[in-house]
């Protein structure tokens, strides 16, 4: 009875898919504005259903026996390979999927509306909207998957739409290279994910989340006692699955595609590479958290990689000059926070604080990071440049963008009462309870975050009066709607009582406010902002002096710690030279060679033997008669024996 209430969620996927098909197939025959309107109407429809679903799930129908239940309103058998191997397609409604529905449809709707202004007059306007619909369809399908296999399909679909949108300006070589890089790096990570899925389903004999995570799950017990190379099997499986998540979520060392992905249109960066797709990895870990809890070593790996990535990316973000790249590294850093929170979390009740904090931060981060990107888009739209050095004092020209950007910057820096403060605070509490080293790392990263965010803010919106050749103009109304809506969201979503709604086991719990955690984190955020103000508010040499005082670190950070170069070296020197070249040789000389050899032999034999086909009837006659005689003799011989 509960499940039927939510069966209308299937329409989210249906409508978005048809919007993609219609706009994709017939877009070039429609007016660009009409195809944009079709896509936007579809996503707004999806948003309405998602909001009502969230309302009914969290406040009316979702709670069963004091626990938010995992409901499957729709499921259909899709592939039946054998009686033990069945793959279903369906829709799952539980706290995290409902939360993701709200996040994805909110940001996606705003990006659709925003793009009317931002992409106006672009060639391929309708193609852009078709891809946006495809992305929204796949992302929502991903979060509502009922089993790992369906999730994997949508996971790849999300990757494809990301690839298509990064390469939207397909005549620009850098965009093409970036799209390929994103696709290949995430594909490489998905190899681990696929192996993990296969291993997990091999031991548990199922793909279904309901069976894997349910009360009588055998996921953990089926693998107890098994180990491979000294590490238990369950750790291997869960780390391999996390590898897929790390690729999508741009965790070190697979983060290299995300900064390049900024070659796509800015609203795409806001939607895919800030708010929704890149948190798919966090979502994946959260979805399988019931199994991860049985693999504490895998969780330790996640926590370590999350913490390291957040620090690493924050250091890089400090020196970048491209406004979108700062935001990209900031995204990587913030996703590191979410991963760390999952990694330090336990299961159930207050033990699951990290899980709750991670989801909370995912939610708030989606709002303010999408807002930051859309604000950056408005700035780029006004100045026609990505570089901070060509901006300044834009406060006067773009008043509304300025206010919304400031709200987002305060939110990400963790200044109360904006959203980021609450979620980051919960993460810090969870980290403190687990390992103080993690706490101090994240505390320091919070300061760095505030510093680079306000470095960006001051150098773009404040500073000396600049003479622009063309006077920058405020963004059109469609863009401002999105900015204002997300700014309001960034300001208020921190007050959502997340611990009452989204928890690791579905049972609400109460959180306690920790002043001893909150005050230091506000303190370091203010210090970060203060240093940024001192260095960048007044034009001066403070920043250059600082850079000159630690030339090594500055250079490392500016060049992103040369991770791209390391990967290039690995791919070129080791993979291409050591593996691909011998394989190519083997293919050319052994595989192709044996086939060519057979063809050569056949050709020569037929060339030599074609004389037999002389056209002389009587030769054939001779052959036939001789054959018949031989046959008779043979029969006589065998008969006589």
């Amino acid at each position: 009875m509960h499940t039927e209430l939510f069966s209308n969620t299937i329409w989210i996927l249906v409508v978005l898919f048809f919007a993609f098909v219609i706009v994709g197939l017939f877009g070039n025959r429609l007016k660009p504005m009409l195809s944009g309107a079709i896509s936007t109407a579809a996503i707004l429809f999806a948003a309405v259903i998602s909001y009502t679903t969230a309302y009914f799930y969290f406040f009316e129908q979702g709670m069963i026996d004091g626990k938010y239940a995992m409901l499957i309103p729709f499921e259909h058998e899709w592939l039946r390979f054998a009686d033990t191997l069945i793959i279903n397609m369906g829709i799952m409604i539980d706290p995290i999927s409902v939360m993701m529905l709200v996040v994805v449809t909110t940001v996606s709707s705003m990006v659709h509306i925003y793009s009317f202004g931002y992409m106006k007059g672009e060639k391929g306007f309708e193609r852009y909207y078709a891809f946006l619909s495809l992305f929204s369809f796949s992302m929502l399908g991903l979060v509502m998957s009922t089993n790992l296999f369906q999730m994997y399909i949508f996971w790849e679909l999300v990757g494809v739409s990301s690839y298509l949108l990064i390469g939207f300006y397909y005549q620009k070589p850098s965009a093409v290279a970036a799209s390929k890089k994103a696709f290949i790096v995430t594909r490489f990570a998905d190899l681990g994910f696929l192996i993990g899925i296969l291993l997990l389903s091999y031991y548990t004999r199922t793909f279904d989340f309901a069976t894997l995570l349910g009360p009588d799950s055998t996921a953990i017990s089926s693998m107890t006692g098994l180990s491979f190379m000294g590490i238990s099997t369950i750790t291997w499986v869960m780390v391999l699955i996390f590898m897929g998540g790390a690729g999508k979520s741009a965790m070190f060392p697979l983060h290299i595609w995300l900064p390049d992905a900024m070659e796509g249109p800015t609203p795409v960066s806001a939607l895919i590479h800030a708010a929704t797709m890149v948190v798919a990895g966090v979502f994946l870990v959260a979805r399988l958290f019931g199994i991860y809890i049985g693999a504490p070593d895998a969780l330790a790996v996640i926590a370590f990689i999350g913490a390291f990535t957040s620090l690493f990316a924050a250091i890089i973000a400090v020196t970048q000059n491209d406004i979108k790249r700062v935001l990209a590294f900031s995204t990587i850093s913030q996703i590191g926070y979410m991963m760390l929170a999952l990694g330090v979390s336990g299961y159930g009740g207050e033990e699951g604080l990290g899980f709750m904090a991670s989801m909370f931060h995912l939610f708030t981060h989606a709002m303010f990071k999408a807002l930051l990107f859309l604000g950056a888009g408005a700035v780029i739209h006004a100045v026609h440049s990505n570089y901070m050095s060509e901006m300044g004092s834009l406060r006067k020209y773009l008043p509304i963008t300025h206010i919304t950007f400031l709200i987002a910057a305060l939110a990400i820096s963790g200044i109360p009462p904006f959203a980021g403060f609450f979620s980051k605070d919960e993460i810090l509490v969870a980290a403190w309870a687990n390992n103080q080293l993690y706490f101090w790392t994240e505390w320091f990263v919070a300061g760095l975050t505030a510093f680079y965010m306000f470095r960006l803010y001051f150098s773009v919106f404040c500073g000396e009066n600049r003479n622009y050749e063309k006077k920058p103009h405020e963004a059109p109304v469609s863009m401002l709607i999105a900015l204002v809506y997300l700014a309001i969201a960034s300001a208020v979503v921190g007050f959502i009582p997340f611990s009452q709604l989204v928890t690791s086991d579905g049972i609400p719990f109460d959180i306690h406010f920790h002043w001893n955690i909150a005050l230091p984190s506000i303190g370091i955020a203010l210090v970060g902002i203060g240093i940024a103000a001192w260095m960048y508010l007044k034009p001066g040499t403070a920043a250059d002096k600082m850079a000159a005082s630690m030339p090594g670190l500055y250079k490392l950070s500016l060049n992103k710690f040369y991770i791209d170069e390391v990967w290039l070296w690995i791919t070129h020197k080791i993979i291409f030279k050591g593996i691909s070249t011998p394989i190519a040789w083997f293919d050319k000389h052994v595989v192709d060679g044996s086939m060519n050899g057979i063809a050569w032999v056949t050709q020569r034999v037929s060339e030599k033997s074609k004389g037999l086909q002389s056209g002389q009837l009587q030769q054939y006659g001779y052959a036939m008669v001789l054959g018949a005689v031989a046959f008779v003799l043979l029969l006589l011989y065998w008969g006589a024996r």
């Binding site: 004389g611 002389s614 056209g615 002389q616 009837l617 009587q618």
Partner: protein
């Protein structure tokens, strides 16, 4: 059975006819003669049908009927063969079998 002529005698005749036909088929160059040789082979077989029927199952008729059938077929086949030979003659200006080799490899 006609007095004084046994099965063996008839079989000698049919075997002789058969191999004369084969020989003619293999060595003669004229298509018409080859056709005649083929007819010899066929008729040797028809003789075998008849004589074995008479000797083995005198109360049955299958062998005779099959012999008649083969004669009918042979007649039709001869008509077709001669039509082909006429066309070959028109095309090749001759009916020497060694020159009819345009369909080789």
């Amino acid at each position: 059975m006609i007095e004084g002529i046994g099965v063996f005698d008839v079989l000698v005749v049919s075997t002789a006819m058969f191999f004369i036909g084969i020989y003619g088929f293999l060595v003669r160059k004229n298509l018409i003669t080859i056709l005649m040789s083929v007819e010899l082979v066929l008729n040797a077989v028809v003789i075998n049908f008849v004589i074995f029927n008479k000797y083995l199952y005198p109360e049955m008729l299958q062998g005779y009927m099959f012999g008649l059938f083969a004669i009918g077929i042979a007649a039709a086949e001869a008509a077709v063969a001669i039509a082909i030979i006429l066309n070959v003659f028109r095309r090749m200006k001759g009916i020497d079998v060694e020159h009819v080799d345009t369909m080789k490899y």
